[in-house]
Amino acid sequence: MITLAWRNVWRNFRRSLITIASMACGLAAIMFGQSMIKSVQYQLVEKATGSITGHIQIQHRNIKEYKFPDRYIDDPDAVEAVLKTQAGIKQFGRRIHMTGLIASPKTSMGALISAVQPEREKDITTMASYITRGVFLGKDPKAIVMGDRMATKLDLRLGEKVVVMAQAEDGSMGAEAFRLAGVFHTGSETFDGQIVYLPVKAMQDLLVVGNRVNHFVIALNDIGQTDVIAQELREKLAGQPLQVLRWKDVDHEIVGVQRFQNALLDIVLMVVFAIVALGVLNTLLMSLFERVREFGVLMAIGARPSWVMKLVLIESFLLGLVGTVIGLVIGSLMIAYFGRNGLHLPLGDALSYFIPFPDVIYMRYEWSSHAFAAGSVLVVSLLAAIAPSLRACRLRPAEALRHV
């Protein structure tokens, strides 16, 4: 039966080729779309977690705005002791995030102050790699680093004095002088124009909070382990007034973007599947109409109606299989090409307002998604064959033999 089905597939070479081409191009387009969106999402998460959020954060339990924790962790040494024993952590660091005022000799402006542990920060975020002038934070306890937009607005040059003012826990204003050690350029308007980095110890002194911080940032060896490690930390820190947050809790807007993109992808998938199904249906109906007499002959010599139905389904499956294999090859080659050379997308300009985001997307294989798409094309080709196969098996042999 398979031999007969295979030869039937190729008896109208041009028509089968067009159907197979439409399936292959459809699948390749789906794979490309999946890869592009997943690659954008991957880079989005990578940049967000790698520039500021980290993979996991530990904050006070009663924080309302995760990005600007307004409560302090009272016993950071106890948290550090737990983190040191936790497997899967690449690095962690104490941080204070808060808003404040940055003043140069000429002017002042509001800013997000990110007070970090300089010696650990290079293993948590990639901010040091964006330095274009001077150096990132190091051993200098009074160093400050800012983006080039802010430096320009404040009319600051390397080595010049900057005063940082922030509100202490008791409501009083603290102020401390720093020297501009480095200037970075990320391409993100937010980072380059609104964020300053300084040592956490200096910030603790400025705010008079002792050794307390308002959160810990943790970078993992494998982002895929986020949920597992977050849960383990929750269990280890149970009893303390703390909460363990995953990157997707802190950067929930990224999750929203991902959901929107996934929904968009699903709609595109459905449209492509509908096109594939209509193509297969058309091919099978044409083929069926041309071969009504032949089905009559097969039934006359003893083929059961269910056998004829199976024959049509196998023909469709083979058609789908060839289209799927070719589609997988074309899709894989496209992804490999843009994975190596990158794909320039204007998306970078839009996203880089919020986080450092490149214009070039390096595409990655998403084999579970690709396998789903390939399987769906096969299923669609089978579903499209149900109506023609039912029609074929309901033919009455005598009527079929009279068909011209």
Binding site: R7, W307, A398
Partner: protein, 238 residues
């Protein structure tokens, strides 16, 4: 099960069969026809175009169902069987030859010939041997691997004969088997069918309106306007 030839029943019995086609207007193709066929016959069904010859063959061959009446093969009633049961019945007991040859174009001569055995799930080596034997008996062994489009009309009809007999049916039904052939090729095909009838005892029932073809038959049943044109026996059986 089918028991043609070894019991008191006729090989095929057609009882009071009527066939009405309903395509817009009702057309009566057969009207209360009753007939019997015995094993080993070489019977022709004769009549002008539209007389009901093909309809009768289709009903005997279980390719169509009568509007009224019953048909028995070897004493077993076949009217009323399900489409799946009828397919199994045809596969085991009937062979068909069509006017337009009706070979499967994507299969070679030997593949066409062996297809009833494929449907019977006969092992590959056995069915190929039997198909080659059938082709040998119709003189086409050397063309076994040609596809139908590389064969002449006469050769294609010989392949159809080989296909109709490869599974050793009790009867071969042939609807105007020589109508598309020239007279020389038609005579050659009839020689072949007669030889198979005489030497292998294969029962043939075929339709034709060609006197030269009818003259070869050992029995001729004449049909006109869906009724027997011969003087029927008192009980209505020809």
């Amino acid at each position: 099960m089918f028991d043609g030839g070894t019991h008191p029943h006729p090989l095929i019995e057609v009882r009071h069969v009527t066939k009405v086609y309903k395509s817009g207007t009702k057309v009566s193709a057969l009207s209360g026809l009753s007939l019997e066929f015995q094993s080993g016959e070489f019977t022709a069904i004769a009549g002008p175009s539209g007389s009901g010859k093909s309809t009768l063959l289709n009903l005997i061959g279980t390719l169509d169902a009568p509007t009224h009446g019953e048909i028995f093969h070897g004493g077993r009633k076949v009217t009323g069987l399900t489409p799946e049961e009828l397919a199994d019945f045809r596969l085991r007991h009937l062979g068909f030859i069509f006017q337009a040859y009706n070979l499967i174009p994507v299969l070679s001569a030997v593949e066409n010939t062996e297809y009833p055995l494929v449907l019977q799930k006969v092992p590959a080596h056995e069915r190929r041997a039997r198909a080659m034997e059938a082709l040998r008996s119709v003189g086409l062994e050397s063309l076994a691997h040609r596809r139908p489009d590389a064969l002449s009309g006469g050769q294609q009809q010989r392949v159809a004969v080989a296909r109709s007999m490869v599974h050793r049916p009790m009867v071969v039904l042939a609807d105007e088997p020589t109508a598309n052939l020239d007279s020389k090729t038609a005579a050659s095909l009839l020689d072949l069918m007669q030889g198979l009838n005489r030497e292998q005892g294969l029962t043939f029932i075929f339709s034709s309106h060609d006197p030269a073809v009818l003259s070869r038959a050992t029995r001729v049943v004449h049909i006109h306007d869906g009724k027997l044109a011969d003087s029927p026996a008192p009980d209505g059986v020809a």
